[in-house]
Symmetry: C2
Subunit: 568 residues, 2 copies
C-alpha cells in the first residue's frame, strides 16, 4: 500500500490550490442533490448520502491514484443496495445497518483484491455484460422513481412495481405531479438546450457546461424556497423530512442481527461493478492528460473509501461518471479537490440540514431520472449486435435477467454466459489447409488466398490452443483430411496459433502421430512457439514423433515437397 | 438414428460366425463372475448384474458403432451407483428402484446427447481429471471390498468405512480370511505369472492370454464346489445367497417413491464417465483394425443399452476395458459376438442360478480387487506432474476430492478446475517482441532467437485470442513497451495467434489505437486471420486505424523499417 499523496503534495502551489478549490465548489453544489437523491434511491435516510460524501472522499484523496475521480454515492450502486436489502426484507435500523455492512464488506473485498494485486478480476465483467447491466439498471432506477414522481408508494421489486402503480392510480396527487413535470421539464431543457443557448449568448464553453451541470442544485434551492413558502407538505406532497444537522458519527452495524452471509455475494458484485465503473472513468480522464492510474492502487483507494463510508454512517460509494467529468472540466488538478469537496459537503451538512427537510421528494426523483437517462445506451446494443452475435447474447442475457429477475442474478448470468461462450468458441477450433503464397514465404488458407499446394504434403493450421475440450476435434480433422487425400505422404501442423498444449491434447497428438505412422504418413510440426516447445521437451512426445519440428512453414515446405504440382 | 447393423450384416458369413461365437464363449465365462461381483459392489442383488448383461448387450449390438466393445456392468459405474444410492439412504426395494432409475436416466442423457449430436460433451472431462477420478475410484472400490474380504459389514461412506473396520476387528472370521487370501493369491499369481509360464510351456500367445482372463471364472467354479462340499455357509462365511432362476422380466421403478430430482446430476455424471471410458476403449480397438467409431452413434448405442438395462431389472452399463480387449483378442468380428454373449449369460442365468447362491462373497470381492488394481495408474500422476503443473492440479484435486468427499463432487470439482485453469491461462497472455530471423521472412521472439530489430519499429506478437478477460492486459503491455522505447514510430501487432477478438477487446484495440495516435505512433496489424478480419470489417475499427493491415510481418517490416539498425 503506497500513498499517492506523496507524489503530488510536494509540488502543491497556489495556482493548483485555486484550481482545485474552484472545481471543489462546483462538485459540491452538484453532489448535494445527488447524495440526497441516491440515498432516497437506496431506500436510506438522506443523511446516509451526505455522510457518504464526506469521509470517503478524504480517504480516496489519500489512497486513490486518479487525480480527478469524484468519489461518492452513484446511481447503480444505490440501486444494487436497495435491491439487496429489499430482498433480505430488512426494516428500519436493520436496513441502515445492512447498507453500512454492504459498504464495509465491499470495501473489504476491494482492499483485499488491491493488496493481493488482483486488479484483473474486474476484467471478468466484459464490456457487453457491463453495458447490458447498466442499461437495465437505468430502466429499473427510472421505474423505481415513478413512485416519488407520482406521489405514491410502490410495492414489490423489479417490474412488479408497475402493477402496484396501476393499483394506486387514485392515490396520485396533482401537486406532486405538477412539481415532477416542472422539474423534469427544467432538467431536460437544461440538459439538451441550455448549453447551446448560453454559447449563443457568448458565454464561455467551460462556464456554460458547468452551469448546465449546476441546474439540479439550482432546482433544489428554488424547490426548497417554494416548498417552504407554499407549505407544499400541507398539500400532501411528500417531503424529504428531517435531516439531522451535524457531522457524521462513528458507526458500526449490529452484525449479530444481520444475515451477513447473504451479503457476501452481493457485496462482491457491488465492489466489482463499482470498480469497473470507476476505473473506466478514471482511465479515460487520466489518458486525456497523459497520466496513468494503477488498477491495484484504485482498488485500495476505493476499498478504504467504502470502509470509511461504512464507519461513518454512509452508503457504498465509487467514482461517479458525470461528477468526475465535471471535476475534470472544472480544472481539478489533484485529489485535494476531492478533500475540499468533502469539506464543502460537511459544511452543507452543518448549515443546510435544517432547510433540506422541506425539499419535495419528487424533485430528487426528477434529478435521478434525468441523470440515468444518459446510462441507457441503445447504440451499444446495435454495435454489439453488428460486431458479434456471441457478445450480443451475453449483453442481452444480462439485460433481460437484470430487468426481469434481479440485478445480482443478471450480473452473475452475464459473467457466466460470457465465460461459457468463450469456452464454446475454443472447443470447436477454426482450422484451415494452408498453402504457400507465391513470391513470399508465407502460408495462408487455400480457400481464401491464391496459394501453391503440393500433392504429397498436407499443411494444416489449427487456430486454437490445444486442450482437453478440443483435442478430440483435432484427431477427427486429421483423420478426415487424410482419408480424403490418399496421396498425402507428410502432414505439417502449423502451430503459430497454438499457445498451449495440455496433457489431454498431448495424448491426442500422440494418438495422431501413431495413427499417421501406421498409415505411412510423416507427422511434422512447424512454427511451434518457445513456451510450447519447452513444454513438449518435458514429455517423450518429440522422441516418438514420426517426423521433424521445423522453425518455419517455409522450411518444412522446402524440406518435404517434391515440387509444387498444382496451383489453385 | 441409424442401424449400424445394416452395415455388417450383409457380409455375415460362416467364418465370421465361428470367430464371433468363440469370442462370445470366452467373454461369457469372464462376464459371469464380473456381473455378480459388480452387482455386489453396487450393493445390488446378484441378478441385477446378470440382467444387465443380457438385454443391454443385444441393444448395443443393434445400435452401437464399435464392433468389439463388450458392454455390461463395470467397476467404476458400480461404485458411482453405490455412492449415489448410499447418499440418498434408499433401502430395500427402493434401493433397487434407484439403480433402475439411474440406468434409465443415464440412458436418457446418453440418447439425448446422441440425438442432439453432442458427442463433444465427453471432452469436458480432461484426461488428467479422468485419470485422477479412476485412480481414486479404484482405491475406494478396494476399500469397499475389505468388508466382504474380511467377513464384516462396513458402515459409512468413503474413508469412514476404515474406522468401522477397526471397530469390528473381532468380528473377522478366519474361514473368510482363508478364502480371501487363497483367492487373491491365485488371481494375482495368474495375473502376473501364469502367462509367462504357459508361454514357456509352449502354449500359443493368444490362448495363454485367454486362459489368464478366464482364471476368475475357474476360481468361481472351484469355490462353488468347495463351498457346497465343505458347507462353508455353516462356518460363518457370507455367501451370495439365492439367485432367482430365469430370464429378466419387465421392470419400471416406482418414481413417486424416489427422490429422482436428486438423481439428475449423478445420472449425468454416470453417463459421462461411462461414455468417456467406453469411447476410449472403443477408439483404441477400432484404430487397431483401421476401423472408425462414431461418437454420436456410440452415445445412442450406450443410451439404448442403459435404457434396456433399466427396463429389464439391470444396473447401469457401459463398455468395459478388460472385457473388450478380451473380446477383441479372442477374435470378435462384429457386434453379433455381443448378442451371442447375451445368449450365453441368459443360459447361465437359467441353468447356473441355483448353484451360484453357494458362492462365497469373499471370492467375488477378490476378483473385484484384482480387476481394479489395473486402474490405479501412478505413472500417469508422474507424467502429468512432469508435463504440466496445471494439469496436475486438476488431476490431484479430482483424486483428493473423490477420495475424501465423494465421487460426484470429485468429478465436478475436476471439471470445474480444469475449465477455470484453462481460462486462467488465457487471461494472462504470453507475448513477445519479435524480430526478423536473418535469411528468412520469419519473425520470432527476440529473447529466444538471433533476430534483426529496427529502432523505430516495435513488432509485438501476442499469443492469445483477445477477449474481455485479457484485453486490459494488452493495453498495459503496449503502454509499457511504448513508454520504454521513446524512439518507436510504428507498432506492428502480429496477429498469427489471435483467433478471435471480442467486443471488449475491440474496445481495447480502439483505445490503444487512439493513445498511440496521440503519441504519434502508427498502429499496424499483420497476419490477421480470415475469420478475424471478416469480423473487424463489421466494425468501424479499420476505418479509424492509424496504420495499415499487412498480409505478412515481412511486408510490414519492408514497408515500415528505415533500415535494420542493430542486431542482437
Amino acid at each position: 500500500m503506497s500513498l499517492p499523496l506523496l507524489g503530488w503534495f510536494r509540488h502543491y502551489d497556489k495556482p493548483t490550490l485555486a484550481q482545485d478549490l474552484g472545481a471543489a465548489l462546483i462538485v459540491t453544489l452538484m453532489l448535494i442533490p445527488q447524495s440526497l437523491a441516491y440515498a432516497m434511491l437506496a431506500g436510506l435516510p438522506p443523511e446516509a448520502g451526505l455522510y457518504a460524501s464526506i469521509l470517503p472522499l478524504v480517504a480516496y484523496g489519500l489512497f486513490g491514484s486518479s487525480r480527478t475521480l469524484s468519489v461518492g454515492p452513484v446511481a447503480v450502486l444505490s440501486l444494487m443496495t436497495a435491491a439487496t436489502l429489499g430482498q433480505l426484507q430488512l426494516e428500519g435500523v436493520h436496513y441502515l445497518d445492512g447498507a453500512l455492512a454492504l459498504a464495509l464488506m465491499s470495501g473489504g473485498w476491494l482492499l483485499l483484491f488491491g493488496l493481493l494485486r488482483l486488479g484483473f478480476v474486474a476484467h471478468f465483467i466484459s464490456h457487453p455484460v457491463m453495458s447490458g447491466f447498466i442499461s437495465a439498471s437505468a430502466l429499473l432506477i427510472t421505474l423505481s422513481q415513478l413512485g416519488p414522481l407520482l406521489g405514491v408508494r410502490l410495492e414489490g421489486h423489479q417490474l412488479q412495481a408497475l402493477g402496484s402503480l396501476v393499483r394506486q392510480w387514485d392515490a396520485i396527487t396533482l401537486a406532486t405531479v405538477v412539481i415532477s413535470v416542472a422539474s423534469l421539464t427544467l432538467l431536460l431543457w437544461s440538459r439538451y438546450r441550455l448549453k447551446g443557448m448560453l454559447l449563443r449568448l457568448g458565454v464561455d464553453e467551460g462556464l456554460a457546461a458547468s452551469l448546465v451541470r449546476l441546474t439540479p442544485a439550482l432546482l433544489v434551492m428554488v424547490a426548497m424556497l417554494l416548498s417552504w413558502g407554499l407549505d407544499l407538505g400541507a398539500l400532501g406532497v411528500a417531503l424529504v423530512g428531517e435531516v439531522p444537522s451535524g457531522l457524521p458519527a462513528w458507526s458500526w452495524p449490529q452484525w449479530s442481527a444481520l444475515p451477513w452471509q447473504a451479503l457476501i455475494v452481493p457485496s462482491l458484485l457491488l465492489s466489482l461493478v463499482g470498480f469497473v465503473e470507476s476505473v473506466s472513468v478514471g482511465q479515460t480522464l487520466a489518458a486525456k492528460r497523459r497520466q496513468r492510474i494503477s488498477a491495484n492502487q484504485e482498488l485500495i483507494g476505493l476499498g478504504v473509501s467504502n470502509i470509511a463510508a461504512g464507519l461513518s454512517g454512509g452508503m457504498p460509494v465509487t467514482g461517479g461518471f458525470a461528477r468526475s467529468v465535471v471535476n475534470f472540466d472544472a480544472g481539478a488538478q489533484t485529489p485535494a479537490a476531492g478533500i475540499y469537496t468533502a469539506v464543502g459537503i460537511a459544511l452543507a451538512g452543518l448549515w443546510l440540514a435544517p432547510w433540506l427537510g422541506v425539499l419535495p421528494k419528487a424533485v430528487l426523483a426528477a434529478t435521478i431520472v434525468v441523470a440515468v437517462l444518459g446510462l441507457l445506451d441503445w447504440r451499444q446494443f446495435l454495435h454489439t449486435w453488428h460486431y458479434s452475435r456471441t457478445d450480443f447474447v451475453a449483453l442481452g442475457l444480462t439485460f433481460l435477467v437484470t430487468l426481469a429477475v434481479n440485478v445480482e442474478l443478471g450480473l452473475l448470468a452475464g459473467i457466466a454466459a460470457s465465460l461459457l461462450l468463450h469456452l464454446y468458441h475454443s472447443y470447436k477450433p477454426h482450422w484451415a489447409e494452408v498453402g504457400l503464397i507465391a513470391g513470399t514465404e508465407h502460408f495462408r488458407n487455400r480457400l481464401r488466398h491464391q496459394v501453391e499446394l503440393d500433392q504429397s504434403l498436407l499443411c494444416l493450421r489449427v487456430d486454437e490452443s490445444l486442450y482437453f475440450a478440443n483435442a478430440g476435434q483435432l484427431e477427427d480433422i486429421v483423420a478426415t483430411l487424410v482419408s480424403l487425400r490418399p496421396e498425402v505422404r507428410h502432414l505439417v501442423l502449423q502451430c503459430s496459433a497454438v499457445n498451449r498444449i495440455d496433457a489431454s491434447a498431448l495424448d491426442s497428438l500422440q494418438m495422431i502421430n501413431d495413427r499417421l505412422q501406421l498409415a505411412g504418413i510423416g507427422f511434422h510440426l512447424a512454427e511451434v512457439k518457445g513456451p510450447v516447445m519447452d513444454r513438449l521437451r518435458q514429455s517423450s512426445f518429440l522422441d516418438r514423433l514420426n517426423g521433424r519440428v521445423f522453425l518455419t512453414m517455409y522450411q518444412a515446405w522446402n524440406g518435404l515437397t517434391t515440387q509444387p504440382e498444382y496451383v489453385i
